[in-house]
Symmetry: C2
Subunit: 118 residues, 2 copies
């Protein structure tokens, strides 16, 4: 079983995720989880997620993200692609611009995997 | 304010952490969080955390971790050091062996940072 449900997985898969601390991760589960965490474990990408979430309705045009981060648009677009590929952001094309939004289920599933019940 | 409280921070700091999606991360908060996430974002280290947590009382001797992971003890010790330095595991020396335990507050603080309220 994958350690984290993808956004395109059925909704009932949401609560199913293996916790890091409640059972032993298999090598392939650990590889999947490391891949997702690496997508987030970058200062620019963390700021992009935070910036998208802070926008009205939790979505932002790529044109609104370049200035606050202070990097070129191709660099920003590369980081956004990593986040979309990891399922952390979604991307919608509207006319000339791409709009990005948070995928809450994916972030919450990752949070659930890391949570240790006391 | 640091985005995540360290284990040695006072307990009241536990619930204080900036959420990734509720306010804009500063560059230094993003750098701190990326550093912590990178410490975890490795398949061997994720399996080590999972293996330590699965042990009785949530702690394990380094001598019990080498065989299940299938790497040499120096390699395992390097990965354990990264996890201890990041505050994810604690290390206690008892006679000849080092014992490792999960630091639940640190993992829970990271989970809280990633949680998106719906």
């Amino acid at each position: 079983m994958p350690v984290l449900a993808r956004q395109e997985d059925p909704p009932e898969a949401d609560g199913c995720c293996t916790s890091l601390v409640s059972e032993l991760l298999s090598a392939s589960q650990a590889a999947d989880l490391a891949h997702l965490m690496k997508a987030l474990a970058d200062p620019t990408r963390l700021r992009l997620v935070s910036l998208v979430a802070a926008h009205q309705n939790g979505q932002a045009c790529v044109c609104e993200l370049t200035d606050p981060i202070g990097l070129t648009q191709p660099t920003i677009s590369h980081h956004l692609k990593v986040l979309v590929d990891a399922g952390i952001l979604t991307r919608t094309q509207r006319g000339k611009w791409a709009y990005y939004a948070i995928a809450p289920a994916r972030l919450n599933a990752l949070a659930a995997v890391l949570t240790v019940s006391r």
